[in-house]
Amino acid sequence: MKSFIVFALMAFGAPGAFTQPAPKALIHAVHQKFAQVKDYSATVRMEFDIPSVRLTPVEGGVYFKQPDKFRIKTEGIIFLPKQNPYFTLQSIRDTNAYVAIFAGEETVQSTKTQVVNVIPNDNAGELILAKLWIDPARKLILKSQLTTKTNGTLTVEQGYGRLQGSALPDWIRFTIDVARFKVPKSVAVDLSASKNAPSLPAKGTGTIQLVFSNYKLNQNLSDAVFAQGK
């Protein structure tokens, strides 16, 4: 099945595949840029647009340490994607662990990008397929679409500013498939609920946007920062 997907993507997905630089070389360059950052802390503002959930923007601190430690600390309740924002970059770290196929060119955020499909060699991992929109000039991923085993499809778009040299985004927007929220009135003890309320679709998409500021890089963050409950 995997061989068929690879063949189909190569045969029909990318007419210009053989005239472009090797996609793995491009991905490697992207990862190398990000690998310069050993750790960082920053301020983050989170904005939520999730069907059936009303949650005002929340501010907090965000911490990251290579290769995969990530933590957001806030005072209150927040909804986060199941994957951390660097799941894509972590998934493409080992260039021998996947097949990368050039799949054309598209414009994202007014920038011409190269589209690369990534198919992991190992079936046991969480990632099934990743589609990356990479700015070849700046060696940055502007958008990625991840198909995962347990959490469906997740689209991640990111915009860069002052720290684009370290591949650290100013903002990241996650678009996630969301099942309709519905609990029995008796469980929610919701006597005011009415059947006349507009019915929501069974499925929708929710977005979570993280806006970063006050980045502090390579401070040798302790692992204790990432421990839960602290």
């Binding site: 009303r54 209150g76 309740i77 909804f79 199941k82 959490n151 003890v189 919701d190």
Partner: protein
Amino acid sequence: MGTLLRIELFKIATKPRSYIGFAAITVIVLLIELALWLDGRSYLEFILQALEQSFQVQGNLLNGNLVSFIILQTLIVQMPLLVALIAGDLVSGEAASGTIRLLLTQPHSRASILWAKYFATSIYVFLLIFWLGLLALGGGFLLFGAGDLVVLKSDELIILKAADTLWRFMAAFGIAFLSLSVVATFSLMLSCYTDNSIGPIIASMAVIILFTIIGTLEVPLFDRIKPFLFTTHMIVWRSMFDQPLDWGAILRSMWILVFHIALFLGVSFFHFTKKDIQN
């Protein structure tokens, strides 16, 4: 008026049934807190299962605010019955025991006697709500700590910041006081019409149960009736936890509740001041 009010409060305080409400609230609140202490996580997991397929929810969801909210929405349905138990007995109880004639021989107008009974009931209702608030909020924060409030609805979750909740609870308790005052005046009105103490209590409970059933059933015929039932507007306290607040709907319901209080009091005064006391 002060003496009359003290006498009425004394009468309420000496009736054992006056403490049923406080005992019931204490038991129910403690039971809910114990149940949530033991099984609250599974309750929340069940509610959030659809969302947790897509997101990780971070933060202390099971906190004093959520526990107080759950207690409030569970108990607010039962509290009118506890109020009717006292208010339904105020005049008819005196008639049944034969003390009404003695009471009316005092150098006070019938209107001031009824005002004293009304104010005494209002103080009782206030104390009942105060006790509920103390146990729910105090016990909730003591056992579960502080945190953002997750307002549970059957098709929606509203998450309110912890700092934005206390004033909403106070306003909700204020509206609950207004709602229970409607029940108190309704029972007082029925009490003015009969000479046995149990009749108005049962009648008040029956009307509240009937109206609540009509309000809960999703039948098109009842949809036309619902706006005219005072029980429909009694649950407007819940709207204090909406985001954004629908002040128009909240104030409209509050005015309707005030109108009902005035109506029931008016009928009570009209009948009681003209009532022919025969026993």
